[in-house]
């Protein structure tokens, strides 16, 4: 079983991200359970979305406290709040932001964090600050949970028209960014 925790503000598409991430796993024949945790619903409020995935149906319904992977859609959430709380010993965090502007807490030797300018990528590819698909591209490259092609297949089934083109480009750029900058593709 793998557990993924997404940190965002309400309105930034964390549920869409969790849903798309779960959908990639679903298309691979896995059993994902994607779910949100809202505060009192209002735009801009900190919120989490989660994906728990296994090769058999997921029964555990609690929130995720010790994630294998983290996705931070809004790095301003890292000011004054420990998004890294409970990250597994070999856990990986993918953070939307720019080097130098994001303060990463001290990690254990096996933990990894990758900073990806996903909003910049989205402004270029989609024309709006929708960082989610670029982050998922980066997530695929960083974690090796699924291939870029598997992610693109899910994107193609979820988007159409101009939005599809933009999101395909976002996935590819996010993936390539991690591949080149961190020189690794799992």
């Amino acid at each position: 079983m793998k557990e993924i925790r997404i940190h965002a503000r309400a309105g930034q598409g964390a549920i869409t991200t969790a849903s798309l991430l779960g959908y990639v796993y679903f298309l691979q024949g896995m059993y994902p359970y994607a779910f949100p945790n809202f505060g009192a619903a209002r735009m801009g409020a900190p919120m989490n979305a989660y994906v728990r995935v296994d090769s058999k149906p997921v029964r555990l319904r609690s929130q995720i406290y010790e994630p294998d992977y983290l996705l931070v859609i809004d790095p301003t959430l890292m000011r004054g709040f420990n998004c890294f709380s409970g990250l597994q010993d070999a856990g990986i965090a993918v953070i939307n932001g720019k080097d130098g502007e994001v303060e990463i807490p001290k990690l254990s030797a096996r933990q990894k964090s990758l900073v990806v300018p996903a909003t910049d990528i989205a402004m270029k590819t989609i024309g709006r600050p929708l960082a989610n698909t670029a982050l998922l591209g980066a997530f695929a490259a960083a974690t090796g949970e699924f291939s870029q092609e598997a992610l693109l297949e899910a994107v193609k089934k979820r988007f159409s028209g101009k939005a599809l083109d933009g999101n395909i480009a976002s996935v590819k750029e996010g993936f390539e960014y991690v591949k080149h900058k961190y020189n690794e593709v799992k």
Partner: protein
């Protein structure tokens, strides 16, 4: 076909397949997505139903009452305060023997306002005459709607059914769900033909004033029918299994009850988390099982007695209260053993996960740990002691 789909959307899909003629509801979190999707189906021409916009839940319930009374399959959905605003109408729907089906996206009750999940709303309606079914996961929530209409419209039953699914956890959770084919649904659930209805060509009166000479028999009849559901529901779930291949008992479901010394009794999505903890405990050789109560009304007391009579210790988990008394499910589980020779030595009662307080594996482990000691009566799990010290003065 298997889809990766949000619980609310999956329920909207299955309600569409049931082909209701009238849908009326008022938006309330966390139920809203269901009726939003249904309204979209109607406006897209995918469902030939009339959606009636109303100004309140009281009116939504009144609309489906009226529609059902004219012999039309009807549907509504609500949560929490919305369900309570329907309160008097719901008793009328049951009393008038109308087979309305409702989804209750289970949520906590005000005050203070809380939009998150527990089961206080649904459980508080237990005396209303509605049959009350509870889902553990989204697939079961979907399947229970088909079972609900089949049961409600059975000529020997003719009672409304409330299908309860935990708010957010199931309504907003997304997982793999098998949405049935329309032809299979049509075979399982033929069009509704009302045995009696409001019809100007053949006028009848429904729900009129009934004086002391007659009233008590109408309540007796409701009570007798509720008992009949205990036989009918397993027959319908057996037919469901034949058609769709998924097996439900309908009343209760045991998990690792064989040789279980300790058994946890619970309702709804928390059963999934409990099963995970039981698997871990069983791997360590601990004899623990789960009894999931799928049907709260009618209450399957005999089935619960049969399932638990061999256990030495039973923990009943309630996600609702009966303020000033024993927690509702615990109270009824205990009553099932009154006067019986075989009974667990301990039936402890625990209150868990009110108002969205997260229920973790540790919460369940704590219940199991406390089951070792003296009998507990309504022990709250995961309380924050520091908050209890706060005072108004």
């Amino acid at each position: 076909m298997k889809e990766f789909v949000e619980g609310s959307h999956a329920v909207a899909e299955v309600v569409r397949l049931c082909k209701p003629g009238v849908i009326s509801a008022y938006p309330i979190t966390p139920q809203t997505h269901i009726v939003e999707d249904l309204a979209q189906f109607v406006s897209d021409g995918k469902l030939a139903a009339q959606t009636v916009n109303v100004e309140s839940e009281h009116s939504a319930a009144s609309v489906v009452l009226g529609a059902s009374a004219t012999g039309v399959r009807s549907y509504t959905a609500t949560s929490s305060q919305g369900l309570f605003y329907m309160f008097e109408v719901l008793f009328n729907i049951a009393g008038m023997r109308l087979p309305v089906v409702m989804t209750c996206a289970a949520r906590a009750i005000s005050a203070p306002i809380n939009i998150w999940n527990d089961q206080q709303d649904a459980v508080s309606l237990r005396d209303s005459g509605w049959i009350q079914l509870h889902a553990e996961d989204i697939q079961e929530a979907v399947d229970l709607h088909l079972i609900a209409y089949k049961l409600a419209e059975n000529k020997s039953i003719m009672l409304p059914v409330m299908v309860c699914m935990d708010g957010f956890i199931l309504t907003h959770g997304i997982e793999t769900v098998d949405i049935p084919e329309q032809t299979m649904v049509d075979n399982f659930l033929p069009p509704y033909i009302a045995p009696y209805k409001l019809d100007p060509a053949a006028p009848v009166t429904m729900g009129p004033l009934v004086d002391p000479e007659y009233y008590m028999e109408t309540r007796y009849a409701l009570q007798e029918t509720q008992k009949k559901v205990l036989d009918m529901l397993p027959q319908i779930t057996a037919e469901f299994a034949k058609t769709f291949g998924r097996k439900y008992n309908g009343l209760v479901e045991g998990y690792h009850l064989e040789g279980a010394e300790k058994v946890i009794v619970a309702i709804g999505s928390v059963c999934g988390t409990i099963k995970e903890v039981i698997d871990e405990a069983r791997a360590k050789g601990k004899k623990i099982g789960l009894l999931k109560v799928s049907c709260l009304r009618p209450f399957p007391a005999q089935q619960i007695y049969d399932a638990l009579k061999g256990a030495s210790k039973v923990a009943v988990i309630d996600r609702a209260l009966s303020l000033g008394s024993t927690a509702p499910l615990a109270s009824e589980v205990k009553a099932a053993f009154f006067g019986k020779k075989k009974a667990p030595s301990v039936i402890s009662s625990f209150v868990v996960g009110l108002g969205g307080r997260d229920i973790t594996k540790d919460s369940i482990r704590e219940v199991i740990k406390l089951l070792n000691g003296r009998e507990r009566n309504g022990e709250f799990i995961d309380l924050k002691p520091e908050l209890l010290k706060e005072s108004y003065e």
